[in-house]
Assembly symmetry: C2
């Protein structure tokens, strides 16, 4: 067997269309892989050390795969933990030291687009190919989810599933089943994101405290979110544009009632609607981060409106999940 000199893979990010926060309480959710990707290149190093460079984050460091250690070169503290995902992914695939790992993230960071899951999934495919291990997509998804659990303590399987398989998924009640939705029509969605980053763990905790303090108030809200997601599943499959938009708008208000909205997100949501979006809502944990706007026929208008005060870009659903880009 010839030794691999270098291998590059890529994996898509994701966006949550419906059901964020409610999933924490066993409610269903709908999410889609998007055509913004993470690229992971692994190549042999002359020495026996393992070095990782995450260019867009300006984070780099040496890994000791044998002992499971990281020695950072530099990087902001809060961005450094991306190397944890890389370390654990490489260990998962029995990788030996002596690699240069170059990671390019073509996904806005901290915008709730699942960049860490994409890094994990792409690293697992790269290193398994590098090590001549054949993994099925299901095995990649499973290992990547384990890595996320190890790094974060808790993790929904949504991000890693989408980065691996691509497409649009419906995560059923209590995460018992992941159902691929067969959506033929294009979903013209734009993402608007603020420079302010929400702290997912903290936000989930804030919501939890509210649910515990006011169960009679909050449980009906979670039930309503469940019903929205189930209606949305039907509307997405049937391409019912009006309904998709209406359901997004209702869902946004409920996310506001959970306390995860901000003035900036709210402004983007309302400007998107004013400019012709059929619906718009927070996507992901909120408290900063991103919104999605559903804009059939009005994509350019909504983007240029939001770009006046925040950042917006169009996304397409990525049918393809993780893939090999090049190898030698």
């Amino acid at each position: 067997m010839l030794n691999t000199k270098h291998v590059t893979t890529s994996a898509p990010g994701k966006t949550i269309l419906f059901g964020e926060h409610a999933v924490v309480y066993g409610k269903p959710a709908i999410a889609a892989a998007v055509d913004r990707r993470v690229y992971v290149k692994i190549e042999k190093r002359e020495d026996n050390r393992t070095h990782v460079n995450v260019e867009e984050l300006r984070v780099s460091g040496f890994l000791n795969l044998e002992r499971g250690l990281i020695e950072f070169d530099n990087g902001e503290y809060e961005k450094k933990n991306i190397l944890e995902y890389v370390l654990k992914s490489l260990i998962k695939t029995n990788t030996k030291d002596g690699l240069e790992v170059t990671i390019n993230i073509d996904i806005p960071i901290g915008a709730g687009l699942g960049s860490s899951a994409a890094v994990t999934v792409a690293t697992i495919l790269s290193s398994s190919i590098y090590n001549n291990i054949n993994l099925t997509r299901d095995e990649i998804a499973k290992q990547a989810h384990q890595v996320e659990l190890e790094v974060q303590g808790a993790a929904s399987p949504i991000d890693t599933t989408l980065s691996t398989h691509g497409g649009v998924i419906y995560l059923s009640k209590d995460a018992e089943e992941i159902i691929t939705l067969d959506i033929n029509t294009e979903i013209p969605i734009i993402i608007g994101y603020t420079s302010k980053r929400g702290n997912t763990g903290k936000l989930v905790e804030t919501v939890k405290l509210k649910v515990e303090k006011y169960p009679q108030i909050m449980n009906p809200i979670l039930n309503s979110m469940e019903s929205i997601t189930n209606h949305a599943r039907e509307a997405l499959v049937n391409g019912d544009q009006q309904k998709i938009g209406e359901l997004m708008n209702i869902n946004h208000g409920l996310l506001d009632s959970l306390g995860v909205n901000t003035e900036e997100l709210s402004k983007m949501v309302y400007f998107a609607r004013k400019t012709g979006a059929l619906g718009s809502k927070i996507t992901g944990a909120g408290g900063g981060g991103s919104i999605i706007a559903y804009c059939p026929g009005r994509v350019e208008e909504v983007i240029s409106c939001i770009n006046k005060f925040e950042n917006a870009f169009k996304i397409n659903i990525s049918v393809e999940g993780v893939r090999l880009e090049s190898k030698e």
Copy 2:
């Protein structure tokens, strides 16, 4: 019996603290009379005609009480219907032609503060005194509600009850009972209002269509609003400031999910919270109109913050309802 030369009465406006829109579906609500008033002066005219001048609206006209007709001098079309309330109130109290009625409204118009109910209630007290008729408060409230029903087709008894009796009321499920809440502490509330006026009828209709289209989504939201109002009743009576604020914030998100929020209202709501309000929400029908912010210890700061881009003022709960101001 001496003939009355002139009589002036006043009645307070109101603000809804919790439960707007949900009341339409038989859910409870909490509302308070506020210290902004309408003044109605009735005096004898030399001729036998009846003339009304609503100064702040720049609406005036001659009424024919015998035949139930209005002949407008001037005024914008949408503001003219205030004279309908005056006409029907004067007829209700068997008033004969030959009056000059001067109305001063010290309540921002269209801000959801119940100015038309206050005009109605004060006119009924003025004209009953002018006609030497003794009405109890309950009779005034009942007649005023009838006038609102005649003019608007539908009307909750909240506005007329508060304008008549003052104080804070809890309107029970299905409007079966109006309970006066005994609130000792001051409620430091500010009102922020936009120049954009919401169309209550249209907004109620929009919500109704949503409830009919998505009962499984919307009914839990209405149930959550009911629970918020019941929790708030307790919190208000106990003076639990933190809770009052939290419940307002949750209620605001639910109003957003009904589709009655706007970019302007949302901005005021978030700026109020940022400036230290413990809670803030749309008050009334939304779609323009007003917000309330609950600001213990931060009243001045929140007012001056909102005044930078919209209008805000402090209100106090008015313990006194309709009252005689002067008579000769």
